[in-house]
């Protein structure tokens, strides 16, 4: 199971007005855990007013650059991204899980392939990692990037991409499509839609010789591009998707008033067994079993926190709890005393639960 590790922030650099590139260094001997493959992402966790938020950000560094860097664009109302853009500084520590994701294809120094990348806004981060790694690792391969942005001043990594064009002259090509800024060529203005792609494939992109296409951007853009690619003859195995930015609800939930939590009569004593060890806690009845465990530094398993995935299942051995939602457990499991700990609130004053069963 993936665990969180501490990382030290060694640099925070602004790329555009509302996006930062954060350089990280694993501490406490976790460096090996953070070996990554191009196109992967890190999942961070941080507490905002008592509410834990988890956010994933793509690595933008190339595999052989020797650094771990992620790009974080500020999302309106996004608690984590706003904090990262406004307050994060060198020397801070962040917690992240080891790199994950399969937004990449295996590389082979001997092969000469033609890659096509589509990025919308901050969707550039994993694509940048992929193209840098690929161009360095496969000297015979070429990469064409179609990069969609609102205007010139919102293009992340614009200078870095120019430098790469010079470094890999003839093998790397960028087509900037700008939504609102007019360009010399009409085709390069507007949104990257299915029609726009079809037009690009006519004169600007050699789609017939494309081996693999990578797409990372908002949903409608991904659908349009994928459709155009399929119409041009690419099959599902040749199209790699990564959907990120717009789908992440970023707002931290305001914690319900906790003043009355501590009032007498609303407390329960809970014994929680996890990984063979048992801890007895004095907890509020307004707190789920899972939150009680997590709040007391027990690394209880969970994923969705919405009562659907059953990752957080535990068994009630004594006492009674109430589940507010259950979309995962079957009736026979409930009969046996299994509960989804993310949805279970203590009812009796004494509760004994076991995650190991």
């Amino acid at each position: 199971m993936a665990r969180f590790h501490e990382l030290e922030v060694t640099d925070v650099r602004k790329t555009i007005r509302d996006a930062v590139v954060v350089t990280l260094k694993p501490v406490n001997g976790a460096a090996a855990e953070f070996e990554f493959t191009q196109g992967q992402y890190l999942t961070f966790r941080r507490d905002f007013d008592g509410e834990e938020l988890r956010r994933s950000y793509s690595i933008c560094a190339g595999k052989d650059e020797g650094v771990l860097q992620v790009g974080i664009k500020r999302v309106d109302g996004g608690a984590f991204s706003t904090w990262a853009n406004a307050d994060l500084k060198t020397g801070d520590r962040l917690e992240a899980m080891p790199p994950m994701g399969s937004f990449f294809t295996p590389l082979d120094a001997g092969s000469g392939k033609n890659y096509l990348g589509f990025a919308g806004g901050s969707g550039i981060t994993p694509v940048l990692s992929i193209l840098k790694t690929t161009l360095a690792a496969e000297p015979e391969s070429s990469f064409t990037l179609v990069y969609a942005n609102k205007g010139v001043n919102t293009i992340m990594f614009r200078e870095e991409l120019e430098d790469l064009k010079n470094l890999y002259m003839g093998r790397f090509n960028v087509i900037h499509i700008l939504e609102s800024d007019a360009q010399e060529i009409d085709l390069f203005t507007g949104l990257v839609t299915e029609e726009k792609c079809a037009q690009l494939f006519e004169h600007w992109i050699d789609i017939e010789s494309t081996d693999t296409a990578f797409i990372c951007g908002p949903e409608p853009m991904m659908l349009g591009i994928a459709s155009a690619l399929r119409n041009a003859g690419l099959d599902d195995a040749q199209i790699k998707f990564e959907l990120f930015a717009s789908a992440q609800p970023g707002r931290a939930k305001r914690k319900a008033s906790s003043a009355e939590d501590s009032r007498a009569g609303n407390q329960a004593q809970m014994a929680i067994t996890l990984d063979g060890a048992t801890q007895t806690l004095e907890v509020s009845k307004d707190m789920t079993v899972l939150d009680a465990a997590l709040g007391n530094a027990m690394d209880a398993p969970y994923a969705c926190k919405a009562g659907v995935c059953s990752t957080c299942r535990c068994r009630v051995l004594e006492g009674e709890v109430e589940m507010v939602a259950n979309h995962a457990l079957e009736d026979y499991e409930v009969e046996k005393g299994y509960v989804l700990s993310c949805q279970a609130y203590p009812v009796t004053d004494n509760v004994v639960v076991d995650y190991d069963q």
């Binding site: 199971m1 993936a2 992402y41 999942t43 988890r54 956010r55 994933s56 994950m100 994701g101 399969s102 937004f103 919308g120 806004g121 969609a148 942005n149 609102k150 939504e179 949104l191 951007g217 908002p218 949903e219 409608p220 853009m221 991904m222 659908l223 994928a226 459709s227 599902d236 195995a237 790699k240 998707f241 990564e242 959907l243 990120f244 717009s246 789908a247 992440q248 398993p301 969970y302 994923a303 969705c304 919405a306 009562g307 659907v308 995935c309 059953s310 990752t311 979309h327 995962a328 026979y332 499991e333 046996k336």
Partner: protein, 253 residues
Amino acid sequence: MAEDMSIESYLAQGGKLSNPANVPPRYRAELLKLMTSFVDSALAGAAGFADVINEGPGIKARIAAAKIVLEKSDNAYQVLRLLGEFGADTRRYETRHPWAARLERSADIGQRRSSQDMRLAVFNYPLKDWSDAVVMNLLMGRAVTLQLTEYSQVSYQPLAEVFRAIAPIETHHAELAEEGLAQLVEQCEKDALQASVDYWLPRVAASFGTGDSAKFEALKAFGLRQTPNEDLRAHWQAVAAETLGKHGLSLNL
């Protein structure tokens, strides 16, 4: 760029998801169920088959059986790795169940799964002997091949990729089973073979699930299914009838 689109509508239009961060809760539940069911079935299938390796008539047959056990375990591992990205404790998972455990051969559980794991009901029945194992592996192998073709299209791209890689391996397992069947037919074990076919047919057929159309439509909207269970089952029956017919056996459902 700034157009808003819900994940649900994105999926309904054929969109793909690529990481656990933005899958909607209900989708996550169905996806995890699908993955867990595959992992548990593959582990249970491998564990059950491991017991009959030594009964293989000759070294080649035992190598084939051992290879099947090895590869099914590896296939389970590939999907379990993805489950880990959703927070599952993979190390604990591997040792969670006695995967070789089976019910009585005469148990009648229909499509019900056991309370312990998510393996398909068919993997709760014990194999009787070598020829029984060959028949089961052939019938289930053909079913898995079709099911994997279906699941290679799922909207969770990392899983679709794993299934695309696994599909030819499982197809080969069914081919090995058919070779084994041909040998057994030569040795004139037809009655015993037909008895095994009759035993396994309804159980494998049940592994395609029910025809709950509301459920299917929901999964289809998520991009997790394309072809209704009934159609897959009918397709499998046709394939199984043809294969069995080649070897002088019949499909009596």
